[in-house]
């Protein structure tokens, strides 16, 4: 590691590894490849059951509220932007900017979660779509809930990192930690891009 402490860091090359890709980054990308299969199967489940909905299934478009979902989609996109800026900041060693970016990311993440909680409550209590009363509810809540769980984990991770940045031990050298966290966060975002299209928008066609 000592050799990397040179004046400027090249964040896309880690000389201690055979390929020049940092171990943590490689780990994260491999994990995300795996997560593609994870969400792929989960989304498939939902779509398969949408192919031939059993009679009595509530019509999805009457349950969904596309305005709310578009709003939270927008929020998640913006959080992704802030995350990208956070990575940029730490790579320049700019802790202050990092903190602000992280805080905003967390804030947006929380808004997204809040919207989701609101949406779920609304579906259950107003629209009478529960996880048990129809297959639509089952697959919908499981899919979006699992995604929400990913967001929640992301928010916890981000918050941890934010706290850690105050210990003074987070430096430019550790930018890879922030960067792999960022990869995770962006991935959660792109999964939502797919869900937004496949689960919500398609119902309106």
């Amino acid at each position: 590691m000592s050799s990397t402490a040179a004046a400027t860091l090249n964040h896309h090359h880690d000389p201690t590894t055979s390929t020049g890709i940092a171990n943590k980054k490689l780990l994260m990308w491999a994990f995300l490849a795996s997560d593609c299969m994870f969400f792929g199967c989960l989304i498939s489940t939902h779509l398969i059951y949408r192919l031939h909905p059993p009679p009595g299934t509530p019509p999805a478009r009457e349950v969904f509220s596309i305005e709310l979902t578009s709003f939270s989609t927008f929020i998640l996109l913006m959080s992704s932007l802030m995350m990208a800026l956070a990575v940029n900041a730490i790579q320049k060693g700019n802790l202050k900017s990092l903190r602000w970016s992280l805080l905003t990311t967390i804030f947006f993440g929380c808004i997204f979660l809040g919207c989701q909680v609101y949406e779920f409550r609304n579906f259950v209590f107003e629209k009478h779509l529960t996880i048990t009363n129809s297959i639509l509810g089952t697959t919908f809540f499981t899919l979006t809930g699992t995604h929400g769980l990913h967001v929640l984990i992301g928010v916890i991770w981000l918050s941890g990192m934010l706290l850690y940045s105050f210990t003074g031990r987070l430096t430019e050298k550790d930018s890879i930690d922030v960067e792999s966290m960022g990869l995770y966060w962006h991935f959660v975002d792109i999964v939502w891009i797919v869900i937004f299209t496949a689960v919500y928008l398609l119902e309106y066609i």
């Binding site: 090249n10 390929t19 795996s34 299969m37 199967c41 398969i48 996109l77």
Partner: protein
């Protein structure tokens, strides 16, 4: 990836500076595309056209995020390969599953056939 990669070319500092604006612009673009998608679903066109439009639009969003926000564009190609292995397999599997379940043989039974046939009372 076959050999130890030589040290990357000199540090790309000008690029680092401009990344901020790249990111902001992309975020705006993503927001716009999302808006477009929202409009698309209400358009009175053929279904297949709308579906393909949606697929294309979200693919574009997807690609922007992974190549810019997630730095694939600036990173070693191996990261891209790695991720695409998963992405392609997942996509292929989804496609196959939807085909399989969309096939005629996979239509679930109509509900009436599910109930055990009622006993007919027969009095001789």
């Amino acid at each position: 990836m076959s050999a130890i990669a030589p040290a990357a070319p000199a540090h790309a500092h000008p690029l680092e500076q401009s990344k901020f604006w790249i990111f902001v612009q992309i975020a705006m673009l993503l927001a716009v595309i999302t808006g477009l998608e929202l409009v698309t679903v209400y358009l009175p066109f053929m279904k297949w056209l709308l579906v393909s439009a949606l697929v294309i639009l979200s693919t574009v969003k997807f690609m922007f995020v992974i190549f810019y926000f997630m730095h694939l564009r600036w990173d070693k190609a191996f990261c891209t390969i790695l991720f695409f292995i998963g992405l392609i397999l997942a996509g292929g599997t989804m496609w196959a599953l939807l085909k399989l379940f969309g096939a005629e043989a996979s239509k679930p039974l109509p509900v009436t056939a599910l109930e055990p046939p009622a006993a007919v009372m027969r009095v001789a």
